[in-house]
Subunit: 328 residues, 2 copies
């Protein structure tokens, strides 16, 4: 784990204090940043302090804190006043996924900050290049997308829009190691970003196998859990290929690629879920069915598992620190 | 963890005593089976006992044994004589991936066992339906494919050939819970089996992103490690969709599927690896480069990680035991 001391001198603004915004604020405070939190809604002024406090309590329970919670909170200001963003070198927008609202937020931010202040969005739905068009100074705009809860996950995707300057994306890439992240840099904006695209490739093939009667949903879940789950957190997909031995892959690719699903249409099963208003765990109706107790168990299990896998991943620094060069 | 007591009365044969065969033998002994191990090569008679003993020592170190190692070994016979397979209800072939050699092995097995003895192959390369043609009684033939080391992984793929009888595949499916497995049943033989197909869909998309310059190999590895790694071992891919909320997936699929890679050709990068004889970690040359020390560290890290993730997965029985019904 490299902790980038550079973080201490840098003030970061966060606009939008929902679950994602407040969990990211906790991450920033842990990293030593001064944080200016902007409440776009008046009720956020009441709810956000408690949310942030609770996140820090979670961090404390897991041994992530070096100081008292109050010490971290002393570096945080929560306000409705965008003018307080003036000293920020980075402002992260975490408001809802509506372009027209984000546009207004960017206007307010740009009125206050300097021209070299990086402005980032945590959108996972809207292309960065589209949002970038709303900016007066577009080259300092990019996407920063993390997994929840932010302080227990290493995943961070930095996405450049068409006009993002390398200087800014590289700065955020390096800075994010100080947030205890393992960043991924998406150099060209692309629909769905990296992880989503890879996962949608899996969903496409998996749903096709189910449709054709080769395997059940449940069996596919087991297969991914127990096979991929046994190595993915250690090595990722390409390192895994090196580990298994590269020599056979080209032959297998040649044989297998033409038979993989190339479906363009929404799979019937997914359309049916929409038609019957199946939202998954939250309304107890999904690809699987749930009782209320089961849905609670899944929520609890995920929170606990997430913390454990975070610790497990962190306990393999020997592998992390191996310096490897990529051949191209 | 359900332990199927049925295992105790069942004698299992294993033909082929390489690393996969011997690690599977350890799994079978742990499950309470009597095991007849056939050494197809004379040198196996010398090497195999030590291999199996070492596997059991690993199991003992991890607290998987209820009895002494010698107690388990008392249920094992190692021999070159195929006639000793006569009492087996199941014989698993683990010899090298050459059809003509496997054919001879099946002939020898069928000469000895009853007509209802299940004969299985652990191939991961040859279609089950093709090998099935070599059998005199083909309906009792199927594929049983596991991950290494067998006693530390829950993954098990059972693959039916065109002519496999449901009775036999269901029997193995149920029996395998007694081996501490979470089986996947592939009802129709398909090139690449379930997990491989899903992973090759990922490789296809990932290599396409690299080729187009959207992201580096290293960044894609990080993204999969730290995002997918944070939930896959808990929930699999479809449960994850339920957990995230199903309502948006159809819309995203519609937008994204047409833009995913449908490549049929072997990616250039992979062809180049073949051309330069890059075999990955084992010859220190792969998608990444390795020093000898680094390659050793990866081997060690994988062995240790594998054991830890096995334990972590096993510590979520509350989730395992949730009975959920699939809607179709």
């Amino acid at each position: 784990m490299k902790i980038n001391c550079e973080t201490k001198g840098i003030t970061v603004g966060v606009v939008g204090l929902g679950l994602m915004g407040t969990s990211f604020i906790a991450t920033l405070l842990l990293a030593g940043h001064k944080v200016i939190a902007i409440a776009p809604l008046p009720e956020d002024m009441i709810v956000a302090p408690e949310r942030i406090y609770n996140h820090l309590v979670q961090c404390e329970k897991s041994g992530l804190l070096n100081n008292r919670i109050t010490d971290y909170l002393s570096h945080l200001s929560i306000t409705e006043d965008y003018l307080l963003l003036a000293p920020c070198q980075l402002v992260v927008e975490c408001v809802i996924e509506k372009s027209e609202i984000k546009k207004v937020v960017y206007e307010k931010i740009e009125k206050t900050v300097t021209k070299s202040t990086v402005i980032a969005t945590n959108t996972s739905a809207i292309p960065i290049s589209e949002l970038q068009k709303y900016l007066l100074v577009p080259d300092r705009f990019l996407g920063i997308h993390w997994a929840e809860p932010s302080y227990f996950t290493r995943f961070l995707e930095i996405t450049c829009g068409t006009n993002t300057g390398d200087f800014y994306s590289n700065w955020i890439y390096n800075l994010s190691y100080g947030w205890n992240k393992e960043p991924t840099l998406l150099r060209k904006d692309i629909r769905g970003f990296v992880t989503n695209r890879l996962m949608y490739a899996v969903y496409r093939e998996g749903l096709s196998l189910v449709k054709q009667g080769h395997a059940t949903l449940e069996d596919i879940d087991k297969s991914f859990r127990y096979d991929v789950g046994s190595w993915i957190t250690l090595m990722g997909i390409f390192r895994r290929m090196d580990f298994l031995g590269l020599e056979n892959f080209a032959v297998i690719f040649e044989a297998l690629f033409p038979s993989l699903s190339n479906d363009h249409e929404v799979p019937e099963l997914m359309q049916r879920m929409v038609d019957i208003n199946a939202k998954g765990i939250k309304n107890l109706s999904g690809l699987y069915n749930y009782s209320f107790e089961e849905s609670m168990k899944w929520e609890e299990a995920f929170a606990a598992f997430n913390e454990e896998i975070f610790k497990l991943a962190a306990s393999y620094p020997a592998v992390e620190n191996i310096e490897t060069s990529i051949k191209k």
